[in-house]
């Protein structure tokens, strides 16, 4: 679908789109969650990193700093148990729909800055784990700033078209013939830890170029960051191996002795350093051998 057509449709057809259904049915989730597993997944998935305004001294999960995108500034929501400004009055099914489908309880799409595309394959058990972990977070009775985008991007219903064109399934399904470690790494890299959110170039409408630009890097990240290519070929060329890569995900130290900066420093400090050694090795194993591409 052409980008121009998309924008025109986005600008012109919004009223009609409001009625266009996008939600898949959400089944009741009755599994018992595990707080530890949920907190671990929340760390790995960057929920805490994005939804906490560390720079501004904000409380944990009370809402993130703004993401300046080409289209305007988007704010990560307050995810504390506050019923007014947080998700304190949500059901687990509302939560599941937001995380896996990127839709509000009323089926209005979220902006794709929220990396829900990568969480589509989270199991009911994983959702239940996350849910109970979020229940342990103290309420913060404060709103986040209003998201401020230029028309047509200000119209959330226009995102339904965006979703139709650019919401890709994560590449998390196991590949037969590969080791368990490799498949575990693949599920983490392509799913929860959403490396491609930054390391894959986006087209002019902000969609990831998953067919041509997978892991090829991105020069226009929010905040002016640039992420280099992390295809297996690029990683080998820059001197990485499984060992140095898993170590960098733990410490931020690169093979040169320099340490990560940019958004990557945050990925490690707020996320991967909290993961287990086994998971970091699994991720590195997959990254150094993305051989089914």
């Amino acid at each position: 679908m052409g980008v121009v057509a998309l924008m025109v449709a986005g600008a012109g057809g919004i009223t009609g789109l409001r009625l266009y259904p996008v939600a898949n049915p959400v089944e009741a989730i009755t599994l018992i969650g595990d707080v530890g597993a949920g907190a671990y997944l929340a760390r790995a998935s960057g929920c805490i990193a994005c939804h906490t305004n560390v720079e501004g001294g904000g409380l944990p999960l009370a809402g993130g700093a703004g993401f300046e995108t080409q289209f305007g500034t988007v704010y990560a929501a307050n995810l504390t148990t506050d019923p007014e400004f947080g998700i304190g009055d949500w059901s687990i099914e509302d939560f599941a729909k937001a995380v896996r489908q990127g839709l509000t309880p009323d089926d209005v799409p979220y902006y794709p800055v929220f990396t829900y595309a990568f969480y589509q394959d989270f199991s009911d058990q994983q959702i239940a784990d996350l849910w109970v972990a979020f229940q342990t977070v103290a309420p913060v009775n404060e709103p986040v700033p209003i998201t401020d985008l230029a028309f047509p991007f200000s119209e959330r219903d226009g995102l339904k078209l965006w979703r139709a064109a650019f919401l890709h399934a994560p590449r998390t399904t196991p590949v037969s013939g590969q080791s368990d470690i490799w498949n575990r790494g693949r599920a983490l890299v392509e799913g929860a830890t959403h490396c491609a959110a930054c390391h894959t170039e986006r087209n002019i409408a902000g969609g990831r170029k998953v067919y041509t630009g997978r892991m090829e890097g991105n020069d226009v990240l929010p905040g002016g960051f640039k992420a280099p290519a992390i295809t297996s070929t690029a990683l080998v060329a820059s001197g990485w191996d499984v060992d140095s890569l898993s170590y960098a995900l733990q410490t931020g130290i690169m093979p040169s002795g320099d340490t990560f900066g940019g958004g990557m420093g945050e990925v490690v400090q707020m996320g991967t350093r909290f993961m287990t050694q086994e998971d970091r090795i699994a991720m590195a194993t997959y990254l150094m051998d993305q051989s089914d591409e």
Partner: protein, 183 residues
Amino acid sequence: MKFRTFTFAASIAVLATTAVAHKGATGVLLERMNGMLAMGKATKAIAPMMRGLEDYDADRTTDYAAVLQTHSGDAMLALFPEGMNAAPSVAKDVIWTNWEDFSVLSSQLETYAMALGLAAQNGLGDAGASDGSMMDGDMADMMGGAVVEEKTLQTLASLSVSTLFAQSAQVCSACHTKFRAED
């Protein structure tokens, strides 16, 4: 004398780091980059030992701590005169609008360097472990709510060398995240 120091630094730069020669930095900027590069080189050299892949040697830790100490704290700040970030520098403008946070990070690194020096004889500790702030079963921390203890030299010096090493690298990375742009 000043001139000699400068040419000496410059010739080291040419020998050791083609990257900097290639970037064409001079003066304070060159000195700053060399300081950072010296810490990077030292970190690279010591990382295998800190990971337990090489035998632990307390003297190497002491030497490493000295390198960090030389290039952190006020010594580092002195190499960031206001507005000094024209190309090839990748230092961000926010350094000077948020000088306080920048100085805190620089002095934190110095504190870690001193702590590493004091802790060198304590031994490496568990090199496979993470930086101590994670999987302790402390849910508040996992969900982002840990109380950040003040990191005094005394509390730090009681930690193991591998933990201090990992945490000092977090200081480098925190500063690079906030104050350094990508090339």
